[in-house]
């Protein structure tokens, strides 16, 4: 935006929002930076410098937590975009039940994470769960989805994709619908086929939408907690712990200063990764 454009509204109008933002976001953030440097019992605190940060970084399960967070983030980001694009293209085509299907795809987004987590925990039970019983009917012996340390985090990630793909699809549908029709007409005159249309028009021009999905699911993935906690509790053992569940367990144990330090670190890590990532993505955006 060029500098000589006069702003339409007075800054005074920002004040209500600013008050809310300052009291509920800025103030607690500043507080948490402070308490992360203390031994804190919620009533009393004692300043202990950086000890909490050192302790937090020494947690033996932290490495697993980082690894799992990364796995979870990458798997959910990639799959949400791939399935989202496929579904969005399908649902912008001329099919009869498209409005109905759009709502169906969106429904999982409306259910709470806890409800989804508990439901899938039952469905994924190794012997009595429906998923493995279905697979059994097909003659496949299904894996121990949540009980096997090696695949538990992937099972949770898959459920997250199931729940989140509807949201991605809706954003992508909006992106695809905003592409002017004459691009496709031009392609048709030039003799391009459907694949060309998808590869050279739809995909590049939905870049902004894809970027939003990637950024959002990346931020979400890095601080993911609800599904992991309800489905595996970070288990078996520590095998599906993510950073947020490690922090939560410390909070549960009453280590308030330590868990606050963990949150500060998580906050910094998310900022450090997401900002450059978003900058990188938006640089390549093509405007319509």
């Amino acid at each position: 935006m060029s500098k000589n454009v006069k702003s339409v509204y007075s800054y005074t109008l920002l004040i209500p929002a600013a008050i809310v933002y300052v009291t509920f976001f800025i103030v607690p953030t500043v507080f948490s930076f402070f308490f992360s440097l203390t031994r804190w019992t919620l009533i009393e605190w004692e300043f202990i410098g950086l000890e909490n940060f050192i302790r937090f970084l020494k947690e033996p399960q932290l490495f697993i937590g980082f690894k799992n967070t990364l796995i979870f983030t990458v798997v959910t980001c990639v799959l949400k975009v791939i399935f989202g694009v496929m579904l969005a293209v399908l649902l912008t085509m001329n099919i009869k039940t498209k409005h109905f299907l759009r709502s169906v795809i969106f429904f999982p987004t409306l259910i709470s994470f806890v409800a989804v987590g508990i439901t899938f925990k039952v469905l994924m039970h190794p012997t009595s769960g429906w998923i493995n019983q279905m697979l059994g009917l097909l003659g496949i012996s299904g894996p121990n989805w949540l009980g096997s340390p090696r695949i538990a985090i992937y099972s949770v990630a898959l459920v997250d994709v199931w729940k989140g793909v509807g949201f991605a699809t809706v954003i992508l549908i909006a992106g695809i619908m905003s592409i002017p029709k004459h691009y496709y007409e031009a392609l048709e005159i030039d003799g391009g086929n459907r694949w060309n249309a998808f590869w050279h028009i739809t995909l590049p021009l939905t870049r902004p939408a894809i970027n939003i999905i990637l950024t959002l699911s990346m931020i979400y993935g890095m601080r993911t907690f609800d599904l992991v906690w309800t489905m595996t509790g970070g288990g078996p053992g520590f095998s599906s712990d993510v950073i947020a569940s490690i922090i939560y367990k410390q909070y549960q144990a009453g280590f308030y200063g330590l868990s606050t330090a963990g949150n500060v670190l998580l906050f910094l890590a998310v900022m450090l990764i997401v900002f450059p990532f978003y900058k990188f993505l938006t640089r390549k955006e093509v405007s319509v």
């Binding site: 800054y11 019992t41 919620l42 096997s148 509790g233 288990g235 009453g254």
Partner: protein
């Protein structure tokens, strides 16, 4: 230039507003202070109503996993006699519930009476700050000394027993034992031998329920009698950072026993996701022969499988010496009286009755006890679970010791995850013990204990 000016004005406005907020916030804080002054006036009034016959309502926070029939019966009697009504507030159990208790204490929102664990968990609450000192109350004398120890801090008593004690060890299915001609093992090797025979007979030897992670710690915790009887000073040294699990071979044995018991050939297939209820069902239905558990599971078993409760037996986790086969005791939870309560007098009366012989007998009439009574001079009624009868000879023979969490304020919060990993073979016992030592160190530092 113009833009700059505007920016500056914006910032000044924001600043002025922020100051305004801060000032009004202070103002309302003062107002609250005034209110609380009024509140203490009201307190005086209620104080007088305590002595009269006007009904007083006490609130009581309790977790939703405790069998309530005994408590409810006593509470009804208290209402009849003293016109003191008790209103229960339920909270989740486990660490989720710990959270609620700690937060409500810290924010001054605690109920009049709190039901909560004794031992390490209780001591982590900073009791001096929140609970009424009961040391000089006359009813303090009725309470068994071993229980007093686990609800006292710096020699001051804060709680009364909310139930009977229970034991950690092995619940077993007597029918399977009969069928296979097995006898109760006196040593660890005999126990392993029994497990092998059950396995050979095509049954599941041990039920594991790692879906409820806390159940995975029992084999370690219930082994504490074997540590205590040879190394009574371990608890103190452990608290003072002078002894570690990893380099005390007797204590490390507990971690090794987890690995020995939860071998894939001994346990149920779905061990990683099975729950406490699943395991109890398998034990009652005779699908598995053993379940390492606390005897506090017996009331739940009775509720769910009333006709199978007599098939369930108990033995303490054996060590290596057949002549020194003992059990590890779990102290019951306690009731604690909130210092900030407006009905302290009524609360004390409530506690006096609950901790009396009369109160405890009403309790036991309505809920079959799962272990020894914590009121001095009281015996168990004739009507007890068969498993509890098997438990009493250990106690009468002096072969019992409290679990470590009742002798030390330290308990690492990640123990249950560590024991799951050992049980599933993801960690060796040595690695697990070392990791637990680190976890304990975290806890000690957070408590600000000396010597760490």
């Amino acid at each position: 230039m113009r833009i700059h000016l505007k920016r500056n004005r914006l910032w000044t406005r924001c600043l002025v507003l922020l100051m305004a907020i801060v000032i009004t916030a202070c103002g309302s804080g003062g107002g609250a202070g005034g209110d609380s002054a009024n509140g203490s006036g009201a307190g005086l009034e209620t104080g007088s109503s305590d002595s009269a016959d006007e009904p007083v309502t006490l609130t009581l926070l309790i977790d939703n996993q405790t069998a309530m029939s005994g408590i409810e019966a006593v509470v009804k009697e208290i209402e009849k006699r003293f016109n003191i009504v008790t209103q229960f507030e339920l909270r989740p159990g486990g660490s989720e519930g710990d959270n609620i208790v700690k937060t409500r204490l810290a924010t001054g929102e605690m109920t009049d009476i709190l039901f909560y664990n004794s031992g390490a968990l209780f001591k982590a609450l900073n009791p001096k700050e929140y609970f009424v000192d009961l040391t000089d109350e006359p009813f303090a004398e009725n309470i068994d000394d071993s229980f007093k120890e686990v609800v006292s801090v710096d020699g001051r008593l804060y709680g009364i027993p909310a139930s009977t004690a229970s034991a950690g060890g092995w619940l077993y299915n007597k029918k399977i034992y009969e069928e296979l001609g097995l006898s109760v093992p006196e040593t660890w090797d005999q126990l392993i031998d029994n497990l092998k025979q059950v396995e050979a007979a095509g049954k599941i030897a041990v039920a594991g329920s790692f879906g409820d992670t806390w159940t995975s710690q029992i084999v370690l915790l219930a082994d504490y009698y074997n540590v205590h009887s040879e190394l009574p000073e371990f608890a103190e040294q452990f608290t003072n950072n002078k002894a570690k699990f990893a380099d005390t071979s007797l204590a490390l044995r507990g971690f090794e026993k987890i690995a020995e018991v939860y071998q894939p050939s001994f346990v149920n297939e779905d061990i990683a996701v099975a729950t406490y209820e699943d395991a109890l069902r398998m034990l009652a239905e005779g699908q598995v022969a053993h379940y390492p558990m606390l005897t506090s599971a017996l009331p739940t078993l009775e509720e769910t499988f009333p006709d199978r409760i007599d098939d369930i037996g108990y033995f303490g986790q054996p060590g290596d010496d057949p002549n020194n086969h003992g059990l590890t005791l779990w102290m019951p939870a306690g009731f604690y009286l909130n210092k900030e309560s407006e009905h302290i007098k009524a609360g004390l009366k409530w506690m006096e009755f609950f901790a009396s012989e009369e109160g405890m007998s009403i309790f036991m009439e309505n809920m079959t006890p799962d272990g020894p009574v914590m009121i001095k001079g009281m015996e168990l009624p004739d009507q007890v679970y068969g498993a509890v009868k098997e438990m009493m000879p250990y106690i009468q023979g002096g072969k019992a010791s409290p679990a470590l969490e009742f002798l030390s304020p330290l308990k690492g919060p990640n123990l249950e995850q560590i024991t799951v990993e050992i049980g599933l073979g993801m960690l060796t016992p040595e690695e697990g013990a070392a990791r637990y030592d680190l976890d304990v160190e975290n806890h000690a530092r957070q408590l600000g204990l000396e010597g760490w």
